[in-house]
């Protein structure tokens, strides 16, 4: 199926259209962040401005339309600039780890034999380490910060793509058109990149779009656990972590500080949901059995 056809069907499908609209909304927010929420300090736009030093969150007001969270950090500003952080983490982590997975899986499957054996056993070792614990340990070793969080996420998330790619390549490399290309004198590089990868990429694209959301959640988890973004950095996970002490509200009014939790929560949920919707729709469109 050609790309134009896939795109057309994605837009025709109501579910994926919803996903695309949500993502478009986030993209607009991310791109126009400097105008939507002008930074106080243009050199450090990712630092959330504070409306004072009091600990208690303040409800939405005219100045801070989403209110302020613990330490008077502006929730609206955090959400807007946090969109950029989410995209950065999602795109970079998924992009790099998928690329690693594609290359590793393809090499293992294409060459087979002991190369396959060695690569897949290394993959197994990486898979055997619990993901969250592994990333926490690595970030702790590397030091706090968004970049280190991304490095840790990449290090421990390429394996599923590698396995998926390997199984795909194993089946495609037996196809006759690969033989035919060999018989025309094409070399391995050409066969892999021109003939095999393009015929195996769709499942990986689906998986990657699903992983966009989960990587952002994991990054948020790390921030919530205190090993992610540094304090005051515009990051949705961190915003939730600020809400930790206020989740229960005050006595008799559990929803008293709802805005500290609900607003960043909704942002994360919508972001992940939209990628999953697109991934699901992608899968349905490309699954020949469902057509």
């Amino acid at each position: 199926m050609e790309w134009q056809e896939v795109l057309k069907r994605l837009l025709q499908n109501k579910i994926s259209l919803l996903g695309i609209l949500i993502i478009l909304f986030f993209i607009v927010v991310a791109v126009f962040a400097p105008w939507i929420a002008p930074p106080r300090d243009a050199d450090e736009p990712y630092l959330i401005p504070r409306g004072g030093w009091a600990i208690q969150p303040q409800p939405p007001s005219e100045e801070y339309i989403f209110g302020t969270t613990e330490g008077q950090y502006d929730i609206f500003y955090g959400i807007v600039w946090g969109t950029r952080t989410a995209f950065r983490i999602g795109l970079i982590v998924v992009g790099i780890s998928s690329s690693i997975g594609i290359i590793v899986g393809t090499i293992a499957a294409y060459y087979g034999g002991w190369i396959d054996e060695v690569i897949m056993r290394i993959t197994d070792v990486f898979m055997s380490i619990p993901f969250i614990i592994a990333t926490i340990v690595l970030v702790t070793i590397l030091g706090q910060g968004i970049t280190n969080v991304m490095i840790a996420l990449i290090t421990f998330s390429w394996m599923s793509t590698a396995r998926l790619m390997r199984s795909q390549v194993l089946s495609v490399k037996e196809d006759e058109f690969v033989q035919a290309a060999l018989a025309l004198g094409a070399n391995d590089f050409r066969i892999i990149f021109r003939h095999i990868i393009l015929n195996t990429i769709f499942p990986v694209v689906i998986q990657a779009s699903m992983r966009m959301g989960s990587m952002v959640i994991t990054a948020s988890t790390l921030s919530f656990l205190g090993v992610g973004a540094p304090e005051g950095y515009a990051d949705w996970g961190q915003m939730i972590s600020f809400a930790r002490n206020w989740i229960l509200g005050v006595e008799g009014d559990p929803l008293h500080y709802w805005y500290t939790l609900v607003i960043p929560g909704v942002a994360i949920t919508l972001f992940c949901l939209s990628w999953n919707l697109i991934g699901d729709a992608f899968r349905d469109i490309l699954d020949p059995k469902l057509n």
């Binding site: 033989q179 035919a180 060999l182 025309l184 094409a186 003939h195 015929n199």
Partner: protein
Amino acid sequence: MNFLSKEALVEVKNLKTYFYTEEGVVKAVDGVDYEIYPGETLGIVGESGCGKSVTSLSIMRLVESPPGRIEAGEINFQGKDLTKLSEKEMRKIRGNDISMIFQEPMTSLNPVYTVGDQIMEAIMLHKGVDRKEARRQAVDMLQKVGIPLPEQRVDEYPHQLSGGMRQRVMIAMALSCDPQLLIADEPTTALDVTIQAQILELMNSLKESYGMSIMMITHDLGVIAEVSDRVAVMYAGKVVEYTDVDTLFEDPKHPYTWGLMNSIPKLDKDVDRLEAIPGSVPSPLNFPEGCKFNTRCPLAEGKCFDVEPPLENATEGHKVRCWRYKDLEKIKERGERIYEDRGVLD
């Protein structure tokens, strides 16, 4: 046609290609000799599993390794022994001097590229011309293989073409660099009969206009009769009979060939039942001692079970690998059959 006076284009000598599997060594090709002369079509015929495809893959050096390996022998082509060339040197020959077309036109084209892209790939790979020129040549090739509206078809994807069309595209790809040898591995098996005839006719006419040789691998004696000049009949990894096509059909000397001939219906003879060769090809993991055909051969006796017969000249230019081909001749003279009733002989 007499090709024997000319120098062979390809000379395969004592080729052995083995597969090392967990169950044991599979001798898929076990000492095969033949020549292909310029401008001729050599037919290779045999049942599935007789090693005919592996022979062709060995020439292209496309036998998957491991488990496969060319164990011994020479494949001489233009003064070079193909079995000794490096992978890089081989890539220059593949698609350029020797091309191959495959059985399944449905899967031999990459579904994600247009047919033009795929023909151009071959042209750009070997001729070093730019995209524009390659495209022009691709359209030209599509025209030559009889695809209507080539300027339009060049931008279509394989799924938009019929099986016959795709096989034509495969032929266009294979011929785009003027190869001297075209290996066709059951090129018409997956096509319906009318399309088969068209493709064979196309290959015959292209062979003449390009002056190339064709190695036609098939299990279909009809195809052999239509296109071949000479034929090698293979059984269990060996050539059992090797002669020109007319002689083979008039005077098959090996009991296996004889059986194949009698297993197809003939228009000019009225028969109630067709003869069939009993049994099936022995597993390559445990070939019998002696002649490999002895498990199915009604003539097999004594020596046949102990010593493998050599491929020897029965008459000039007619080689046969059988201890008892002279006895078979006598049976033929008497007008008897050998396969229906095992008691006929003695």
